[in-house]
Structures are given as structure tokens and as C-alpha cells.
Amino acid sequence: MITVTIDGKEIKLEKPVTVLEAARSAGIKIPTLCWHEQLERYGGCRLCLVEIEKMPRLQTACTFMVADGMVVRTETEQTANVRRGILEFLLINHPLDCPVCDKAGECELQNLVGKYGPAKGRYKEKKRKVPESLEDPIIVRNMERCIMCTRCVRMCEGVQGASAIDVISRGGHSHIEPFSGGKYDCEYCGNCISVCPVGAIMSRLHRHSFRPWQMENEIETICPYCGVGCTLIVQVRDDVIKRVVPRIGSVVNNGLLCTRGRFGYEFVGSKERLTTPLVRIAPKTQSGVGSQESTLSQPPFDKGGSQGGVISELFREATWEEAISLVAKKLSEIKEEYGNPAIAGIASPRCTNEDNYIFQKFMRVALGTNNIDSTARTGFAGAQSFIENIFGQGATANIISGLSNSDLVFVIGGDPTTVNPILGLQIRACSRNGGNILTIGNFKGLEYFSPQKLVPVLYTEDILLEGIVTVLKNKKRLSDANSKLEAKIKDISTSIEDVKNICKIEEKDFNEFLNILSESTNPSIVIGKETAQSNGASYKLLLLSAINYLINGRLYLLSDRANEQGLLDMGCAPDILPGYRPVSYVESKRRYESIWESELPGKTGLTIFEMVNAAKNGSLKAMYVMGENPVYNLPDSKTVEAALRNIEFLVVQDIFLTETGKLADVVLPALSWAEKDGTFTNMERRIQRLRKAVNGNGMEDWRIISEIARNMGKKFDYSNAEDIFNEICKASPLHKDLTYEDIEKGGGIYPYKGEPLRDGMEEIQVHNAERLSVNGKLYLRIERPLFHSGTLSRRAPALVKIYPEAVVRISPDTAKALSFKEGEVVRVSTKIGSIELPVVIDKALDNFSVMLTNNFEGKSAYRLMGYDIEPVTRASVLDGNTVAIEKAGL
């Protein structure tokens, strides 16, 4: 026990800490500038100098460790003089332009000068002049205001791990710059902005638009973008979101954000938002592809004005009453005429649990069908149920921050630093803490974190994984804890020769990789969507499960949508009821029948891909789409579009008139994430609260659906999201007895108070797909960039400025072989279509891969990609899309 006295207060400490930490623990504030609680200590600014008895000189509290019996004084005449002196020096080159600085009011320098002075400087020389840099679209840099605390550099290097900025030059000429000296070209997390104590680096999104003290409201909510579920503080003035910042201490992201969370909010106020219900006036034509493209292609966000034209050509405005009774009437008629199976619904991984619960209840109770699915089917849903069938429910519900404490992270199938950026930071932290990063494939975001990589030839991952299992099962003893899996493991075997010859992996690298893997005591395995969408995905998932079992690891499934997990837990799938209970269990069906006071369909419904087929062949007559854009977010999107045109009655409920919305008979304007209450369930299966920050035109998704259900004579009486949540927690055995209050107190962690499904695991089935041979061909693959997520991000101007247009990525060898230069416009064609776009040469790519994102209107990867269905996981398989690239305009 260490006892120190600071400002006369006796403080007892378990272990030695710095004087600053000791003081803070007792609520004593010592002024600081270079110190920041999220960063490594630096001791550069000297502002925290304090008097320590028996020490001849003042000491920096932020670096000096306490010792037993130490007596410290933090505010004396001497410390005040010293601080004033330091501040005078900091101001010699400072432009004193606080009246036009956005930081004024929350500037640490301004506050300190206010407290300690000096009121007047003695410096007579000319001040250093550095023009403000507006070369970057997002971050404005004003180096005259910089006090060289290096907080931004330490954040970027030591926490974010991007190392995009550094101190350039030295002495009085020092300044902070990104590599180019102008544009940042970095990860644009904005975490450097969070830690800058002054107005030297700031966001351009809200430049000169408010003063910090004019903020009217601060709402804590959850990010709408990915499955990490970061806490956001949304700052509001005049009912407009002015700024989004993180909060230090929040559970998932603890004071950090990624680019989407911090800069992606502007879609909320977009001029393109839908404001009234729309009813179709234009006939639904099955016209040629050309004209389809013309009606579907939308102006970019900044030309929002012309959107009005498209709307009035296709639709007329309607009142809510009219639209709701029209939808209720048409759906009832179709149900009457063609029966329940002719109706289907697509739920949304962007909507809340409450929205999704009401959606599936509506489909099941009011329309009598289990035809409910979502884009989670394209990868996440099947992968998760496969893994849970082996390890039990909740197998992937692992705490994200646990990654940084792992001694090893094994990554496959996607770059976590772009798909789930804040999770990616935990992997980088694991490496910094001395853990090993093993990757199957090249992931740029982990490049500086000493990954041990095995990069097999495209489409030969399964052999490599078999090789890993073969070695591991000889090194580790099988314990018989999971006999079903062990029986499968016993059959897995491949030779090192195959790994060498087919995957083209060096034996030495393979052995080294396996030594590290088998010696790990606390490993984690991170699986991305590319694995879930691959040929033979079920077999690869089995191999990964086997590896996980043999090394006794934890599994993480990357999720690129905010409520992908929640939507499944709410029962938005053709085969599961809320609480992730199988439709096929008589017991769970009965349970919901009695709670919902309605008979339920017993047959499992159609998957989203089966719905598309049913629409194509005419057996599906009506479809209700909530907050999803299947024409854009499903592969082979042109076929999806044609299929949806074929549907007699299509209802689309969304915040924008999406590609899918344009095909609808009725369009219903919903509220965005910032305009409603509710909950999201993140990839850890943590339930978190969304809170309304601003008002919007439109209704909550659950409210629209409830209105329609009531119009159809069903009892859907809810006055707010909490009512629905209470019903969920009464009905679902998994969410048993949970309340908003519990969640707010941190009770949203899986398995809550509920009962995860324990029994009823089925035989492990795998599909042994025929291996694709890549010889000499090029294959189209999906790039999943940090800056985009599709329908929302392309209406967020900041994200569009960072990543403005679709590009196609090829390897340097491919570029050479085809003699393409960087930036040259080329035509990319597959069996089902072709588009023209500029080339980017990417050193991280292999010579078989061509990468394209699915984020830009008219130039999306899904327009070019056909798919198969993986028979076990029922996900789309995107492997094997051969592609040709040639000069454009030929």
C-alpha cells in the first residue's frame, strides 16, 4: 500500500501510478496538454509540473511515479508562474484567432490561458505563418494553432494504428502532416481530431456552423453502420445533427470511432429523403435492360433536386391513410386469391429489433407466411447457424475487446479493419501487446502488424485448411467433448504435398504458421464474409470449426450490418421464430401461437433467393420490403430487378427511394436510425439502446406495419418501441424478462437472463463442392472498402468525398499483361453484364483476382456477379465469376 498526500489530501494506492493518475483518482485536477487518457505518456508540454516535497525541482505529474510518503502540491505560486511561462511560449507563434476558431469554447489552450494567463505576451518578433490547409475534403489543418503535443500522432500511430501522420521537420518549424503534405489519404477515423486539444486539426463537416456551447442536445445512441455497434454521441442543434463524437468509457468502442460512424451521418438530413407515401402511377414494364437502367439510375446526392423528377414520373403522393389502407387491402386480396405462400417479406439489418420483431409477427400473424428473410442470408445467417449447430447457440457471441487480450488472432475471409473497423483495432492492439496475427490471405489493414501470412492460390483455401487440421489433430489430443465434430475431424486429412503443390505454400512457412497456431493458449478466430460466400463454404466452416475446437479458440463472425444479428434473433428468417427458435419445433410454434393469439404457419418459408426465383416464375404475387434494397444488395441484381418487376404488388418501406423502391406499387417513408428509439444487437449479441436524436418525416418502421396490421383487423397495439421490447422479452425465451432499464445498466450482454437453445442440434452436414480451377483466368471478387456500406454511405457526402467513384482493382502483373495504366478507364465484363470504370493497380492482389465494390450506383459488383446457392448454409456462392477486362470504348 502506497500513501501519498496531494494538496493535503491523503490518497491510498494499491500499486504505483503516476502522480497525475493518483491525483485524478482523488478528483484533483492537474492541468495537462500533452497527456491524454487514451494515449501513451509523453511528458512533452511540461504544463503538469507540480511541487513535490524534498525534490529540488518541479516534476511532470503525468510521468512521475508516486512513492510512499510523497507530498505533492499541484497549485502553488511557483506552479502557476511556471505554467504561465509555458503558455506564453506556446502562444508566441499562435495566431490568437479564437474568434474564428471552431474549437473556441472547448479548447484546452484557451481554457488554460484563461486560468493562468499571460494576459499579455512579450514576444516582439514576427509570428510564424503557415496557411490553413484545406487540401483535404474532411480534415482541415491549421498548423499555426498547433502546440506540438503530438497527441494526434500518438493516436494515429499507437491506437488507430494507421500511422498516417507525423511530426515533420524540427524545432520551430515542426508541424503535423500526412504523408502527402496535403490530402490525408488515411483511414479517416477522425480519432486524431478527438484528441487534439486545440483547433489545429478539425472536421470540415461542421466547419464554422456552430459554437460548442450552442449545442442544444447530446444523445447517446448506436452507430447505424456495422455489426460492432459503437456508441455514438450525436450532437444536435436546430433539430440537425451537427457532429458525432465518441465517448471515452463506452463499452464497445471506448472513445474511438471509425470513418463511417464519425463522418457518415449526413444522410439523415439528405434532400433525397422520402417525406410522404407514394403510390405508383407508371405502368410496370418488363422493358429492355437499357431503359431499366435509365429509370433506375439515380442522380448523385448533390444533385438531389432532380430526384423530384423521377418521383413524379413514377408515383403520385398519397396520404398515410390512403397508403395504409391500400396496402392492407391489396395484401388481403392477394392472400385471399393466391394463398399465404404467394406473399413474402424482406426484413432489414438496418432496422431495430423492435421493427424486425413487428415485421415478422406481421408476416406470420397477419399474412400467415414464414416467407421472411433478409440479406443476412447472403453469408452471415448460414455461417452462424452452421457454427451454432456444432458448438451451440451463442458460439459467436464473443466480446470484441477480448481480441486484444488474445495471444493469437487468426483471420480469414475479409479484412476486419475495413469490414468492422473498431474490431480491427482490437486485432492491431493484440499485435501491439505481443500477440501473433495469423492470416489466410493478404489483408492490407494488418500489414504493419507483423502478420504471419499464408496466401494460397485463389480457391484452394480448403486444402490449406485441411492441411492445418491434419497437423493440428496430430499435435493435439481429442478429448471427446464434442463427439459429433470429432467424428468429422477424424476423416479430415490431406498431405503437405497437396498444400505445397496446389496451394503453392512453402513448407517452411506452413510449419512456422502451425507452430505458432498450436502453441497458442488463448486464440481467437475471425471469419469474414468471403469465406461464408465461397464455394464449399460449409466444408470450410467445418474446417474452421475443427481448428477452433483443436486450439480451443473463440470465434468471431464479421458482420457488415448494424443489426444483422438482431434481425435473426427476432425471427426474421424463414425457419426461425424470435429467440432463434426453429419453426419446426412444435413447442416453440405453440408458444408463439398462444402469445400472439393466432395460428401460425408450420412450414418453413422461402429464403431470399427462393423468393427471387418465385417472383421470377410468377408464383410470388406480393412482397413487402422493409429497409432493404434487394435490387442492389443481392448478387445478379439485374435478375433480381426483373423478378421484382414481375411481382403484382410490391411495398417498399425505406428512407430513400432506392432502386427497389422505384419498382414498388406503394412506397412508405420510414424514419432513419437517428430519428427513432429502439435497440440493436451487435455481433457480440450485445443489445444496446438507440435513442431518437432528431425529428424526421415519416414513421417508425414498426409503427407503419402496426397500422397496416390494425387496418387488417389484427391487434397490433403499441405506443412506443419499449412496448414492443417488453413483448419481445415476454415472448422470446432468449430475451426473457429483459427491460430497457436492464440494458441501460449494462444487462444487454448475451445470454441476458434468457435461455439459449441447448438441445436439438442436428447432424453436421457439409457440401463437398467441386474445386474451381483458376488456370489463366481472372475472377471477380468483392472489395469491401472502409468508407462505404452501400445505400446509406453513398448518400453521406463525406464518405463519397473520400471514396468518390467505383474503381476496379487488379494486380500489377495483370495490369502489365493487359498493358493498363493506373486510372485508365476499362471495360469489365462477365457473363451477365459489363461496366466501364477506372483501373487501380493494387499490390496486395493476386494475379487471378479482380476486385470491385458493391457501393456505387450502376457500377456495382453485384450487377456483374452470378451466384450459386451453397446447399447447406443456403448462402450465395460468389466464387467462379470469370471476368474479362479490356480497353474501354473498343
Binding site: D166, R170, E177, F179, S180, E447
Partner: protein
Amino acid sequence: MLSKAAIKELNEIRQKYPDASAALLPALYIAQREFGYLGADAYEAVSDALGVPRAIARGVGTFYAMYKHKPMGRHIVQLCTNVSCMILGAEKLSDFLKNKYGLETGGTTPDKRFSLVIMECIGACGTAPAMLVDDDFYENLTEKYIEEILEKYK
């Protein structure tokens, strides 16, 4: 792009240090030799070769005044004009360089043969005036002697 030989040299240097960033200074010298000075290309080449982020390579490089930060002549003349050298006529010598060779302080001759850097004391006060040409040291300078010396550097 670095030459194959330079990359080999870099890799050898890398082996002598515990981690990549520790090898930055010698690596930057190699890149400077290859590219003529430290600009974006040189930093990127070092960054790629060592696996150190490029912004960090540039941050380290720009800290040191003794790297070349802009294109320079084939040979660098570093003339001292500090107190001892100044008293013994260094300023005249600098005028001489300007008139005879067109070499301004910080400038480069039109034929890219020489660049001139003015130094603050190179530790030869006893034999001032003094200068360095590339890595070679010369003292007791006179105009005539400078002419002779520079003849050696093409």
C-alpha cells in the same frame, strides 16, 4: 524504384537492427543516394522495403538537416561561414563561388554539378576557412585552392 543492389543492401542493413524503424536512418541514406534526395518516391521506397509506414519514414527523414530534402547537384559543397572561417575570409569565398560557378547559397549550378550549403562550424576553426565536398574535408581554403579542389569533382 530502388535498384536490386540497393534493395539487397537495405535488407542486409535491416538484419543489423532489432526492428525495422531502427534501420530507418541508414536506409534513408541509401534511398537518398539512389534518388538523389529524399522526396515522396524515396520515402515510399524505404517504407515498402522496411515495412515502416511512409508518414513515419518522412517524419524521421525531415527531422535531420543533413539529408537532402530537394533535388541537388551531383556534389555538395558545404562551406563554413561561422566565426573563425568568417574572420579568415569565408564570405569572400562564398562570393567567389557565386561569381565563378554561379553557386548561390542553397542553390545548384545549372549543369547540376554542384550545390552549395552554408554550414555552421565544421570543427576546423584552427585551420579555417574550411569546407566539405561530399564526404571529403578541405581546410586553409583560398580561391585558387577551391578551383583546384572542384576540378576533381565532375
